[in-house]
Each structure stands twice: as structure tokens, then as C-alpha cells.
């Protein structure tokens, strides 16, 4: 009997086939593993999945909701991908989203009578500025003292969420409303127009536009080139005369601004006021989305829709008595398998017999 062993050999270039197949296999494996988990808790996995996917993708209403969820996911994922491109690990999209929502809400709450052509652009600018400045808070210590941005961006998430809570429970609470932690409803001028009469709002165009802009920046612009250089080697970047500090500040600000825009679009397009818990964790899921998309802006759009569907499906499952956390679990598993599967894009498996002779 010949005995065989297996060996990984690094590929010279990542396999293009694998780049495409791995995510698909990963989703399937995640579904299988999730299914085992579901059946262990005494449920019928197929039935649960059927409900999840017919509800999220099988009807006009479900599709609409999926897109509604995909918009903030795509925007926040685009935001973090910009920072990730430079190896700045901004995991504070959640906080930047909240601050963006707050900044944008300030305008209609303070000047409710502004006309629409002042109100919407004003909210966009305020939302982006607030999200950007929030991110800048972590970029400054990072640029000057190299303070680890993973910790600071994460911490600021909690502050931002609690700060918005403070506002809606306290000073910004609607005096006319009952005791709910919500602000007064925005005027119509402060609402992003919808597509037809659906809940899909024009935030969709923000996401599309930013994806296209980032795709061009990454691939064709001189700034994208610098970001790439800095992200790949700071020493080479300073040798080439690039201003690393300024780029850290700029990239973090813009990264936060895009997540801030997501917050603005959410309060203006969907909720119509500021309130407690405006995000079910978009800013965190965004990290997964950006990573699965390999920081490719156009892939982010597609993956966001998938994750939006998971989220909507999760809600549907909840109605059937399965916790909505099923969706989160599946998201985590998909990420797990994609990261694990990456080894096959960069390596190939070879079978070697004990005597060392190779067999195909």
C-alpha cells in the first residue's frame, strides 16, 4: 500500500477561478452548517431557509426591504473599505453612522421650515461632516502618536450610540410626543424622496455614486495610487515623498463621512426622525461586507444586497419563532468560510506519496 500525504504549494498568482468559486461554496457551507445547528435546536432547516429567502427575495415587498437594508450596508461598507485600502482599520462605522444621523437631524429639528433645496443638501453636508469629524478624532492620535485606531474607533462607537441616546431621551425628545425616546418628525422637506411609492429612497443613488467614484479612485487616480502605496509600505511611501499623516487624516475623515452619509440617508429616507437604536449593527456588518468584497466597490454593492436579504430573512424567521440572530449567525459563518477558503485561492493542494513521488 502506498501512503499519501497532502501538501500546499503557493500559487504564483491567485487563481481567478477560486476567487469566484470560494464565496459561492462558502455561502453553501454556511447554510449547511447553519442548517445542522437549526436542526439541533429542533427546527426544520429547509423550512426556515425557505421562509427566509422567499420573504427577502421572493416578493416585491421583500425585495424592497432587502434593498432598504442594503443601502446603509453598502454605504458603510464603502466607507470602511476606503480606510481598509490604506490598512487603517476603521471599525467605527457604527459610531460614524450614528453621528452622521445626528448631524443631519439637527437641521430639520432646528430649522423645520427650510425649503427642500436647502434642507437636503444641508443635511448631507452636516451628516457627512459629523461622521467625518468623529472618525477624525481617532485619525489625529493615529497620525501623530500612532495610537492604534482599532481600539479608538471601536470605543467611539459606544460613545456615539450613547450620545444619540442621551439626545433622544433628553434635550431632543419631542415635547409633544409621549415619553418615547424619539425626536419630532422631520418636515417633508427633510425627507429623501422615494422611488415611486416604495420605501426605497434616493440614498440608493448615494451608494451607487460613491461606489463608482471609489472604483475610479482606486483604479485610475493618482490619489488611489498613493493610498495603495501607503497601505503597502509606509517606508516606501515616505521615501517617495508622500505625506502619510495628511493622508491618514484625509482618508479617515472621508471614510467616516461616507458612513455619516449612511446615517443621514437612514434618518431622512426611512425613519423621518432621530431615535434610539437606528442601526441594527450596519456599521459592524459593513466590515464583513467590505472584507468579503475584497474592498472592491462594485462587489460591495452586490454583497450588500445578499446581506440585506439575510437581515430581512432573519426578521421573517423571527415571525416563525426562530430568533433573528439566525441571520447574524449565517453572516458570521459565511465570513468564516470565505476567510478559510482564501487559502485555496493562494495555494494549491498536491498529493505526494510517501516515497515523495508526485501524483496528480
Amino acid at each position: 500500500m502506498e501512503r499519501h500525504s497532502y501538501k500546499l504549494e503557493k500559487r504564483l498568482t491567485p487563481s481567478p477561478v477560486m476567487v469566484f468559486i470560494i464565496p459561492i461554496i462558502s455561502v453553501l457551507l454556511a447554510l449547511i452548517l447553519g442548517g445542522i445547528f437549526l436542526s439541533m435546536t429542533g427546527r426544520e432547516p429547509l423550512a426556515v431557509y425557505t421562509i427566509m429567502f422567499t420573504d427577502s427575495l421572493g416578493s416585491k415587498y421583500g425585495l424592497t426591504e432587502t434593498i432598504v437594508k442594503a443601502i446603509p450596508l453598502a454605504l458603510t461598507a464603502l466607507g470602511v473599505s476606503l480606510a481598509f485600502k490604506m490598512k487603517l482599520w476603521n471599525i467605527g462605522a457604527e459610531g460614524q453612522f450614528y453621528m452622521g444621523a445626528m448631524g443631519a437631524s439637527w437641521l430639520p429639528l432646528t430649522f423645520p421650515t427650510l425649503p427642500v433645496y436647502v434642507m437636503i443638501p444641508g443635511m448631507v453636508v452636516l451628516g457627512m461632516t459629523a461622521g467625518g469629524l468623529w472618525a477624525l478624532l481617532t485619525a489625529i492620535p493615529r497620525a501623530i502618536w500612532k495610537v492604534n485606531e482599532i481600539i479608538t474607533t471601536l470605543m467611539l462607537n459606544y460613545i456615539a450610540i450613547l450620545w444619540v441616546d442621551y439626545l433622544v431621551f433628553g434635550p431632543w425628545r419631542d415635547p409633544l410626543g409621549s415619553n418615547f425616546p424619539i425626536t419630532a418628525a422631520f418636515s417633508d422637506a427633510a425627507r429623501l424622496p422615494g422611488l415611486g411609492d416604495s420605501r426605497i429612497h434616493s440614498g440608493l443613488f448615494f451608494a451607487l455614486a460613491i461606489a463608482v467614484i471609489l472604483a475610479i479612485v482606486f483604479k485610475y487616480s493618482r490619489w488611489g495610487y498613493s493610498i495603495n502605496v501607503i497601505g503597502s509600505s509606509e517606508r516606501a511611501a515616505s521615501y517617495a515623498g508622500m505625506n502619510i499623516k495628511r493622508n491618514i487624516l484625509l482618508v479617515m475623515f472621508l471614510s467616516g463621512a461616507i458612513s455619516g452619509l449612511a446615517g443621514m440617508a437612514e434618518v431622512s429616507g426611512i425613519i423621518g426622525k432621530l431615535q434610539h437604536g437606528i442601526s441594527p449593527g450596519y456599521g459592524y456588518t459593513a466590515i464583513i461586507v467590505a472584507w468579503l468584497s475584497k474592498l472592491n466597490p462594485l462587489a460591495i454593492l452586490i454583497v450588500s444586497v445578499l446581506f440585506g436579504a439575510l437581515q430581512v430573512g432573519g426578521y421573517a424567521a423571527q415571525i416563525e419563532g426562530v430568533p433573528a440572530a439566525v441571520a447574524t449567525m449565517l453572516q458570521g459563518m459565511i465570513l468564516f468560510f470565505v476567510l478559510g477558503g482564501e487559502i485555496f485561492t493562494n495555494y494549491r493542494v498536491r498529493r505526494v506519496s510517501r516515497k515523495g513521488e508526485e501524483s496528480k
Binding site: K7, E9, L12, T13, I216, Y220, S221, R222, W223, Y225, S226, N228, V229, S232, S233, R235, A236, S238, Y239, A240, G241, M242, N243, R350, V352, K355, G356, E357, E358
Partner: protein, 506 residues
């Protein structure tokens, strides 16, 4: 115990990379106690061949015979098990661990590490071969030469009796090179086999028993060292006769382009690395910096490029004070800089060739217009550089990391020289270049000189300095011992100055 390698043969080895035939039907062989030198131009396939022997690459065709029996080596682990060790050009040590810890790293099967017996065995090895090193020293405290010894000990500790060294002397000081060669002689005298890759022909001549010359991936000669000569080898490698470059024309320097006045600066470990350096480089002058590396050369180059702060002193570039300028401004003022560390500073290995060629100019015309890169201009510029500088690469999109060592250096040279700087700082520019490329670089430096560029050439090769420079400054412990005109320089004078002895050197 590892079996003794009496005879090793690689037969008909062929290895293809996308777009390159790196080894084509190569045969080499080596016996116990023999030193085999492998020569060849940059990109000839030397490293590839050795990586195959060490189990890093799988050949597309060919076999390896060990003591007459065919073996297949699928990983460095299997190579080590057969008694083959390799010292790569870029060391793979953990700086925060001690020598002993580095040596036994990855060996111990049990959880508890027996440092004491390990130290004992390391001492035995160092005694046998006369390798001076303290097993308890931390690797970050060691010089490059000492780190290399640790790599050698690592291989010996694992029972290697065939040692492969890939350009081991490229990063060593002349003194360290001498010591290494002595060490390798000892090792072969005690029955070890050695394969060494080198571009330095005098080392090859003095150390090896046989020489195999590769050209474009094929063996073009296999000769006994005793029956050949340096010139013959050079000709075999390059395929034509070599004429060493000489300075021509009279030395008629113009105005000063780069001036340092009493420059002080700290090194990485916080000690003073430069203590009052004053130098002037004028248009059309090549000023050499001689000295054992580690005496402030790296810091000198970095303060000029704006990558390291001065603690005192003044630098002016092209008539303007540049002491506090950003690296970007200094580049704009016309400084070219060929850095010592080509993989971490000079290039970005994961980037393609064209991306590395525009590293410093990506933001300006003609490579960028408005906000966008001008790909067509960049590509035609890049392909003309690749051709002019003889960079061996299948495409412009090839990542720089897959080029051979010498070709990476050519990418940097191409970029820095064609930017037509006012002043050019070149730190060890010929490291790793083959003799043809070295000659070419020399001619480029001389051409720069006759075009009125002021060149600061940092090198350890005294011959190189004496044939190219107008003046030579000797750096010792962060000070300029003396600046002497090349006519007055000879090896003895420079050697004394490099050792810090000023009195007798006049």
C-alpha cells in the same frame, strides 16, 4: 542522524514561471568537501535552481540524485532531513529572540525546550568551525555578518552537510566577507559540501573548486576553478569582453549642489550616528563615502533625503536650505536617492513594475493629468525603461517581487537616474548586480557626472570608489575622518582611515 552526502546531482532541471523559462535542462553536480560556485547574470536562474534543491519550488522536469539514488524534495523540511541547508540572502531570524532560541526555533517536538543542551551543542558547532558568536546574545544586537553566522549555525545544527549560500557576501563588509570565506574553507576541509552563488569573481576564484556558469537559464560552462581565470569567467557569463569603466576628462566641478555643515543625527538605537559631518558635493563631481558600513552611512543618506531628523547642523540642496524640508520638497528640489534597502524602501514588492517605476512621479505630468493617472504614457515610459536598463521581466504588470534580485535593483536605478536629479545619493548601488550590470551602472554614474549631476556614492568596494570618484571621504564612527582626492588614495591609506587611524594616513 543525517546521512552523509557523498555525491549530489541535479539532472535536466527545467522550471518555468509565467512568461519565463527560468531553468532549462540544467545539470549540476557536487561531491563531498567540494565548493561549487554558481555564476550567472541577474535573472540567469541561479536562485531558482537553488530553491528547487532546497524544496521551495517544484521543477517542471528533471530529477535530483543523492548518492546515486533519486530523491524528491518537496519542502525545506525534507531538504534538511536529507542534510541540505540554505542561507538565503534575506535572513529569516526573529530579532527579539536570542541566538540559541532562533537556532532551535521550530525544532523541538516536546513542549519543554531544553535550552541548556541546545546551548551546549551550539558551542560545539561554533568551536568546530571557529564561528565566534555568543548563543545568549539577542539577534537584534548582532551585525549583519553575525546574523548570517546564526543562519549558518541553524543549518549546521539541523545536521546539514551540504550548505547553499545565495549571495552571502553581498551585504557583508569586506572584513566580514573575508571571515566568511575562511569559515567556508574550514567547513569544506571538514568534509562539508558548499554551493555558493556570488557575483564577486575574486571570491569565486579564491574559494571554489568548480564553477558552473548559467546563462538565460542554461548551463553554458562547467569548469575547474584552477583551469580558468577571472576574465574568462566574466566573458562566459556576459558573453562578451568586459572593459572596466574609468573616469575620463578632467575634473572641473561647478557650484556646490549639496552641502552638509556640522550635521548631527541619531541612529535607530538612540545613539549619535552622525557627529558633525561636513561635506560638499559639487556639480559634476562624484564624492565617494568609504567606510565599514554601520559607521553612519545609512543615517547620512537618510538625513539628506529628509527621512531622518538632524539634531544639529544644516544641509543645503541646490542652493536652498533643505534641513527642515519634507521628503517631497527635497525630491522636488532635485534629489535622487538609491536606498540601501531595496525591498522595504526602494520598491514595493507587491506592486507591478510600472507602478514601481512611477513611485516618485505618479502625481505629476506627464504621468498624471488632472486627478487621473495617464496609463498610456506610463506604459510607454515604463517599457522604454525596461528596455534601456535591461530589466528582465515577462510583462510590465509582473509584480516586482517575482524579479530576480539584480533586476529589482535595476528598476530602482532606472527610476532614479532617469528623473535627472541635481544631486544623486547612491547607497551601495551595485549590491547584487552582476558584473555586466555593475559596469553599466558605473557608466551611468559617470554619465551623470558629465551631465553635471553631483553624485554621493556610498560603497564598501574600494576599487569601485577609486575608479569612479573624484574625491573620497572616509566615514568612521559618524565622523568624516578625511576627504582625499582620488589621486592620493590607495588601499592602505583608505584602510587606515576606515579603521579610525588618522595620523599615519598622510
Amino acid at each position: 542522524m543525517v546521512k552523509k552526502i557523498e555525491h549530489l546531482e541535479m539532472v535536466g532541471i527545467t522550471k518555468r514561471f509565467p512568461g519565463v523559462l527560468s531553468n532549462n535542462n540544467v545539470n549540476i553536480q557536487i561531491k563531498t568537501g567540494e565548493v561549487l560556485a554558481i555564476l550567472g547574470e541577474n535573472g540567469a536562474g541561479k536562485t531558482t535552481l537553488m530553491n528547487i534543491l532546497y524544496g521551495l519550488y517544484k521543477p517542471d522536469a528533471g530529477k535530483i540524485l543523492l548518492n546515486g539514488k533519486q530523491v524528491s524534495i518537496n519542502s525545506p523540511k525534507e531538504a534538511i532531513a536529507l542534510g541540505i541547508g540554505m542561507v538565503h540572502q534575506h535572513f529569516m531570524l526573529v530579532p527579539t529572540l536570542t541566538v540559541c532560541e532562533n537556532v532551535i526555533l521550530g525544532l523541538s517536538k516536546s513542549f519543554i525546550v531544553d535550552i541548556k543542551t541546545a546551548t551546549q551543542r551550539i558551542r560545539e558547532i561554533t568551536d568546530t568551525y571557529g564561528l565566534a558568536i555568543n548563543p545568549d546574545a539577542y539577534v537584534w544586537q548582532l551585525s549583519v555578518g553575525e546574523q548570517q553566522r546564526v543562519e549558518i549555525i541553524k543549518a549546521l545544527y539541523r545536521g546539514a552537510n551540504l550548505l547553499i549560500l545565495d549571495e552571502p557576501t553581498a551585504v557583508l563588509t569586506p572584513q566580514e566577507s573575508k571571515e566568511l570565506i575562511q569559515l567556508l574553507r574550514n567547513m569544506s576541509a571538514q568534509g562539508n559540501s558548499i554551493i555558493i552563488i556570488s557575483h564577486k569573481l575574486h571570491e569565486v576564484m579564491s574559494l571554489s573548486d568548480r564553477v558552473t556558469v548559467l546563462r538565460d537559464g542554461e548551463v553554458c560552462a562547467d569548469v575547474c576553478t584552477r583551469e580558468t581565470s577571472q576574465d574568462a569567467l566574466a566573458q562566459l557569463m556576459v558573453g562578451r569582453e568586459m572593459a572596466p569603466c574609468q573616469r575620463e576628462g578632467t575634473f572641473s566641478p561647478g557650484k556646490a549642489v549639496l552641502e552638509l555643515q556640522e550635521v548631527y543625527s541619531q541612529g535607530d538605537k538612540g545613539t549619535e550616528a552622525l557627529t558633525g559631518v561636513s561635506l560638499t558635493i559639487r556639480e559634476g563631481e562624484i564624492l565617494g563615502i568609504a567606510g565599514v558600513s554601520g559607521n553612519g552611512q545609512k543615517e547620512l543618506a537618510e538625513v539628506i533625503a529628509g527621512l531622518r531628523k538632524l539634531s544639529k547642523g544644516k544641509i543645503s540642496l541646490n542652493g536652498k536650505e533643505s534641513t527642515k524640508m519634507s521628503p517631497a520638497n527635497i525630491i522636488e528640489q532635485g534629489l535622487g536617492y538609491i536606498p540601501e534597502d531595496r525591498l522595504r524602501v526602494g520598491t514595493i514588492p507587491s506592486f507591478s513594475i510600472w507602478e514601481n517605476l512611477i513611485l516618485k512621479d505618479h502625481h505629476q505630468r506627464p504621468f498624471a493629468k488632472h486627478l487621473l493617472l495617464q496609463n498610456r504614457v506610463i506604459m510607454s515610459h515604463s517599457s522604454s525603461l525596461v528596455e534601456k536598463y535591461g530589466i528582465k521581466t515577462p510583462t510590465l504588470e509582473t509584480p516586482t517581487s517575482s524579479l530576480s534580485g539584480g533586476n529589482i535593483q535595476r528598476v530602482i536605478l532606472a527610476r532614479e537616474i532617469t528623473r535627472s536629479p541635481v544631486a544623486l545619493v547612491a547607497a551601495y548601488p551595485t549590491r547584487g548586480l552582476d558584473i555586466g550590470a555593475t559596469e553599466y551602472l558605473h557608466s551611468k554614474l559617470l554619465e551623470a557626472r558629465s551631465n553635471g549631476i553631483g553624485v554621493l556614492l556610498i560603497s564598501e568596494d574600494l576599487e569601485e570608489l577609486m575608479s569612479l570618484c573624484d574625491n573620497i571621504a572616509v566615514l568612521y564612527e559618524g565622523r568624516v575622518m578625511k576627504v582625499i582626492p582620488v589621486e592620493e588614495a590607495n588601499e592602505r591609506v583608505l584602510g587606515l582611515l576606515m579603521a579610525g587611524i588618522a595620523e599615519q594616513a598622510s
